[in-house]
């Protein structure tokens, strides 16, 4: 998408928001002209930045963990029919389970702190990456592997020159597709058993302080977190997988 189009769309959304605020004219829908200054004030003078960083750290840690664990596992399953036959029923059952329903269980086991939140998001990303990388590795034509082997490649060179670059698009696609869900689930986990994170910030301003402009500023921050992650992955994909975008 063109930058200009995206900026225009963002502007249109804000205009729509402004009009809706004027029509509804109640404190539960403050106008963007009210929210945006609060947003900056809360970041600079308030503690929203701290909450945002807590949320950001949780998503990044989950992304990192899921990539380093799911990508090798996916490669392994994609290369070995035997292993895949053994594990695929388990994956088949676990993959579609909405991981968010596991939140209470993970909280029971791991209590407060960052770990349960990171674990939940990890579970979402893990299966997504695992399945995509596995299918990608399994779909590599055997002709390709054979011709690279015929050039002298052993296991090490095959991994570095074939399997790794082949799984990169799958990893990035999986991240791009699931980063939205990850942030959504992050919000839910942060409304439980924590006093840090944008989820908590939004929840606290909405239900306890009844400070709606601040709540909206939190919603805006969380949306920007999701958008920022999405765009970063998208950018990486264009950067690292150029071959997928040539005409």
């Amino acid at each position: 998408m063109k930058k200009r189009d995206a900026s225009l769309a963002a502007f249109a959304i804000f205009v729509f928001w402004q009009i809706a605020a004027l029509i509804i004219d109640r404190n539960i829908l403050p106008s963007p002209l009210e929210v945006i200054p609060v947003f900056f004030k809360e970041i600079i003078n308030g503690n929203m930045l701290e909450h945002a960083l807590a949320s950001f750290w949780r998503v990044m840690a989950s992304m990192f963990l899921s990539v380093i664990l799911a990508a090798p596992a996916g490669l392994l399953l994609g290369q070995s029919q035997k292993l895949n036959r053994f594990f695929s029923p388990v994956i088949y059952l676990l993959y579609p389970v909405p991981k968010v329903v596991l939140v209470p269980i993970v909280l029971l086991f791991f209590g407060v702190g960052d770990l349960p939140k990171i674990l939940i998001i990890f579970m979402i990303l893990f299966f997504q990456i695992l399945v995509l990388v596995r299918d990608q590795a399994a779909a590599l034509p055997s002709e390709l592997i054979q011709s690279v082997r015929s050039l002298g490649a052993g296991r090490r060179a095959l991994f570095r020159l074939v399997y790794l670059p082949a799984s990169l698009p799958a990893i990035l696609t999986a991240l791009r597709q699931s980063v939205g869900t990850a942030v959504a689930v992050l919000y839910i986990t942060e409304t439980f058993a924590t006093q840090r994170g944008l989820g908590y910030y939004i929840y606290f301003n909405a239900s306890t302080l009844l400070d709606y402009p601040a709540m909206y500023a939190g919603v805006l921050a969380m949306s920007l977190l999701g958008l920022g992650l999405y765009f970063s992955v998208d950018w990486l994909e264009h950067r690292l997988c150029k071959w997928q975008f040539v005409e």
Binding site: S150, L151, G152, V246
Partner: protein, 255 residues
């Protein structure tokens, strides 16, 4: 002697052996075409020569040596999917060199003799008309350009044996003839021994000074047709060529 098959037997699990007590020899510098219908085992034979499959019984020797793995001095070119889709023409053509520098001249993955390692890539890209395309990805190339890239990659490694599996089957007639001529030219120039697998009678007749005809498995005896005029200019239009094609067609119907 370049290639020797002695009482070689190969079968895929629980099926009729593709080759049974098979004997066959290829001399250095010869150009062979292996011809047969699909399922006759011609690709299997090529994979055996490439060191990607191994005989159940009997011996396969290349330059008097067994073949426990792909031999660094053999080049293999397949019909499709031989190129890395995420690498440009140049990166694909460099792949062999990269793999060699990965392991060093260990005599296993790369020849021990360093001087034969590569002859440099650039002249090959130029020679094969790829220099203007070197930053393109395989998906942006025509089938003929893709096969030229595969050829550049192989020849940059200075092979003495070229193994080709239906390399031009998915190309249009003009491009195919063009690349057949190029291959003949390069074989003569680089002193290459060629073994090309094909299902096309015409291609076998044009490429092979000797043609090995395989029939339905099990193949026990090599059926060899001499074709000494192959590769001469004007051969495509000669009577010998037309008659040979007829002859081969009849033989294939019997086999």
């Amino acid at each position: 002697m370049m290639i020797t098959l002695k009482d070689l037997t190969f079968s895929y699990s629980h099926s009729t052996p593709v080759l049974q007590n098979f004997n066959w020899q290829v001399q250095r510098g010869e150009r062979w075409a292996i011809l047969g219908a699909s399922g006759c085992g011609k690709s299997t034979l090529l994979y055996l020569l490439a060191g990607l499959r191994f005989p159940d019984a009997g011996e396969l020797l290349i330059n008097e040596e067994f073949l426990p793995r792909p031999r660094p001095q053999s080049g293999l070119i397949l019909q499709e999917y031989g190129l890395l889709p995420w690498a440009t023409v140049r990166e694909n053509a460099e792949l062999g060199e990269r793999i060699r520098s990965f392991y060093g001249a260990d005599g296993i993955h790369a020849p021990r003799d360093g001087s034969r390692v590569t002859s440099g890539l650039l002249p090959w890209l130029k020679r094969l008309g790829l220099d203007a395309l070197s930053d393109k990805y395989p998906s942006q190339l025509s089938g003929g350009q893709r096969q030229r890239t595969a050829i550049a990659r192989t020849l940059a490694l200075n092979p003495d044996l070229l193994l080709m599996d239906e390399p031009f089957s998915s190309l249009d007639a003009i491009t195919r003839a063009d690349l057949q001529n190029l291959t003949l030219e390069l074989c003569a120039e680089q002193n290459l021994t060629l073994v090309m697998v094909t299902h096309s009678i015409e291609e076998a007749a044009i490429m092979g000074e000797k043609i090995l005809l395989l029939g339905n498995p099990p193949n026990r005896f090599p059926q060899i047709i001499e074709n000494p005029n192959a590769g001469e200019t004007g051969y495509r239009d000669s009577r010998i060529y037309t008659e040979l094609c007829q002859n081969l067609r009849q033989r294939m119907e019997i086999a």
